[in-house]
C-alpha cells in the first residue's frame, strides 16, 4: 500500500512570492496532488471600487499587481475612459506607453531576480534590483511615487514628461541593454540553473488554453498570444516589436522568453521616445476640478497585456459618479490555477521553482 505524506507550504514562506498556502500530497518525494488555498491578502478591491468615485480607484488598482502598477492603472483607465467617452491626447498615450513598458521591465527584473533567488542564486537578484532602482528613480521624477505610482489619471497623466525625464530614460536604456545581457549570462552560465529548470514544469498548449492561462506562461507553450499585438490598445500598432514564443514548454523556455520580451520592451520604448509628439498631456474635460464629477454609463470591458498576461477590467456604470460594478480578470489568478498540473509527478523541490517561474503576485490573485 502506498504511503502518503501531506505537507503544508505557506501561508508565510520565504520562497513563495507572497502569502498563499499549498497543501501538497507527497508519495516519498514525488508530488501527487497540490491544493491551493487563497485569500490571505484578500481586500475585496472590487467592492471598495464600487464605494468610490471613478477617479479615486487608481490607488486600489496600483495595489493589485503592486510590481506592475502602471499597467494596472492603464487597464482600469482603458475601461473607464471608454465608459465616459473620454478622449486621451496623443502625447498622454505615448507617455502611458513608455511608463507601461518601463514598469514591465521593472516587474520582470523582480520576477527573474526572485526566480534565481528561489534556486539560491543570490548574485543576479542584486543586479536586477540595482537596475530596477533606476527605473523607480525615473518614476519618482515623473510621479513622486516609487512603486505605487498613481501616475495616470482619467483623460491623461498626472504630470508631463520634461526633458530631464526623457534624457534619464535614454541614458537608462543605453546602460541597461548590455547590463541585461550580463544578467542573462549570469543565469545561462550556471549549471545548477539549467539542471533545476530544463524539462521541469511542462505545460502543454491545450492544457494552458483550457485553464485560461495567458502571458509568458502561454507563450512559453508555443501560442503567440499577446494583447498588444492581437487587440492593440494605445499605439502598439504603430511600433515594431515581435512576440517571442518558446516550444520548450518548460521553466527554461519561459525564462529565456521573459528575457527576450524585455529586449522587445526596450525596442518599444526607444521607438516611443522617437515618436512622442508635443501637445497637451491631459484632456481638459478631466482637469482636476472636474475629476470627481465624471459620470459613467453603460458597460465596457478592456484588456491589456500586463507583466503576467491578459489583464481585463469590466466596468459598469449607472449614470452616477460611482461605478456600479468593477470586475478584474486577473492573469495571475488563472496562471496559479495551473500549478497542480505542472507539479504533478515532479519532486517536492521542483514545486518552488515552478511557482517561481509562474511569477505570481498575490496582490493581484486575491485582489
Amino acid at each position: 500500500m502506498a504511503h502518503y505524506t501531506e505537507l503544508n507550504i505557506g501561508p508565510v514562506h520565504p520562497s513563495i512570492h507572497g502569502i498563499l498556502k499549498f497543501k501538497v500530497k507527497l508519495h516519498e518525494e514525488i508530488i501527487e496532488d497540490v491544493e491551493i488555498t487563497l485569500g490571505f491578502l484578500h481586500r475585496n478591491a472590487e467592492k471598495i471600487c464600487e464605494l468610490n468615485y471613478y477617479a479615486d480607484n487608481m490607488i486600489y488598482f496600483d495595489r493589485m499587481d503592486y510590481l506592475d502598477a502602471m499597467n494596472m492603472e492603464l487597464g482600469y483607465l482603458t475601461a473607464v475612459e471608454k465608459l465616459m467617452d473620454m478622449e486621451v491626447p496623443e502625447r498622454a498615450q505615448w507617455i502611458r506607453m513608455i511608463v507601461a513598458e518601463l514598469n514591465r521591465l521593472a516587474a520582470r527584473l523582480v520576477g527573474i531576480g526572485a526566480f534565481g533567488l528561489d534556486m539560491g542564486m543570490l548574485t543576479p537578484f542584486f543586479h536586477c534590483f540595482i537596475e530596477r532602482e533606476k527605473i523607480q528613480k525615473i518614476f519618482v521624477e515623473a510621479s513622486g511615487g516609487r512603486q505605487e505610482v498613481n501616475y495616470m489619471s482619467i483623460g491623461g497623466v498626472y504630470q508631463d514628461f520634461n526633458d530631464k525625464i526623457i534624457n534619464d530614460i535614454k541614458e537608462f536604456l543605453k546602460e541597461f541593454k548590455p547590463y541585461l545581457e550580463d544578467i542573462y549570462n549570469m543565469f545561462m552560465h550556471s549549471e545548477i540553473f539549467w539542471q533545476r529548470n530544463d524539462g521541469i514544469g511542462i505545460l502543454e498548449p491545450d492544457v494552458a488554453l483550457d485553464y485560461g492561462v495567458t502571458g509568458p506562461l502561454l507563450r512559453g507553450s508555443g501560442i503567440a498570444y499577446d494583447v498588444r499585438k492581437d487587440a492593440p490598445y494605445l499605439f502598439y500598432d504603430k511600433v515594431n516589436f515581435d512576440v517571442p514564443i518558446s516550444h520548450k514548454k518548460d521553466n527554461m523556455g519561459r525564462f529565456i522568453l521573459k528575457v527576450e520580451e524585455m529586449r522587445q520592451s526596450i525596442r518599444i520604448i526607444e521607438q516611443c521616445l522617437d515618436k512622442i509628439p508635443d501637445g497637451p498631456y491631459f484632456n481638459n474635460k478631466a482637469k482636476k476640478s472636474m475629476m470627481l464629477r465624471l459620470k459613467g454609463d453603460g458597460e465596457a470591458f478592456s484588456r491589456i497585456e500586463s507583466d503576467n498576461g491578459e489583464f481585463g477590467v469590466y466596468v459598469r456604470g449607472n449614470g452616477t459618479f460611482k461605478p456600479w460594478r468593477v470586475h478584474v480578470r486577473s492573469p495571475a489568478f488563472k496562471n496559479i490555477s495551473v500549478v497542480p498540473v505542472l507539479a504533478k509527478g515532479m519532486m517536492i523541490a521542483d514545486l518552488i521553482v515552478i511557482i517561481g517561474s509562474i511569477d505570481t503576485v498575490i496582490g493581484e490573485i486575491d485582489r
Binding site: H42, E46, Y314, K334
Partner: protein
C-alpha cells in the same frame, strides 16, 4: 438526435459594449448548448463576472477565440441566482465560478467543488451583493486543526 449545425439555442438580443465587444444575451437554459457550440468553434473561457442588478443577477461570460482574435461577451440573467456550471467544458470555469459564488453568491449547478475561494467557509453573506451590510464586522479564528471559524463577536477572533 442532435445534428451538427443544428442551432439549439435562441439569441435574445445582440449589442455592443463601449469598447466594441459584441454582447450576446441568451436564456440561461440555453447556456450549455450555446457554449458547447462556441467551444466547437474554437472559443475559450476568459472570465466570469456576476452583476447584482437588485431585482435579478446577471452573469457575464467573456469568451475568446485565439485564432480569429474574436472576443465575445455572453450575458445571462437569473432570478433565483442559479446558472448551469461550465466546468465540464473548460477547466478555467472552476476557479472563476468559485470566485463568483464566494463574492456574489451565484450558485453554479453541476460544479463539483463549489466552495468559497477567498473567504473562510463559514463566512456569512456574499460581499459583492448590494444588500451586504458592510458595518457588520466578522472575526476569524483558527483552531488547532487549522480550520477557520467566523464569529460576529469581537472577542472570538481577529
Amino acid at each position: 438526435m442532435k445534428q451538427t449545425g443544428d442551432i439549439m439555442y435562441k439569441i435574445i438580443s445582440e449589442s455592443e459594449d463601449k469598447n466594441k465587444i459584441k454582447i450576446i444575451q441568451i436564456d440561461k437554459n440555453d447556456l450549455i448548448e450555446f457554449m458547447e457550440d462556441y467551444k466547437s468553434k474554437g472559443y475559450y473561457l476568459s472570465s466570469i463576472t456576476g452583476v447584482d442588478m437588485l431585482d435579478h443577477l446577471e452573469v457575464i461570460y467573456h469568451i475568446h477565440n485565439y485564432d480569429t482574435h474574436e472576443y465575445i461577451e455572453v450575458k445571462v440573467s437569473t432570478q433565483d441566482g442559479k446558472v448551469p456550471s461550465l466546468t465540464k467544458l473548460w477547466r478555467a470555469a472552476d476557479w472563476d465560478e468559485r470566485e463568483q459564488y464566494d463574492l456574489m453568491g451565484i450558485i453554479f449547478e453541476g460544479h463539483d467543488n463549489l466552495r468559497r475561494i477567498f473567504l473562510p467557509d463559514e463566512w456569512v453573506g456574499h460581499p459583492l451583493r448590494k444588500s451586504y451590510d458592510l458595518k457588520k464586522v466578522q472575526y476569524i479564528r483558527m483552531d488547532s486543526e487549522g480550520n477557520e471559524h467566523v464569529s460576529f463577536n469581537e472577542n472570538e477572533g481577529w
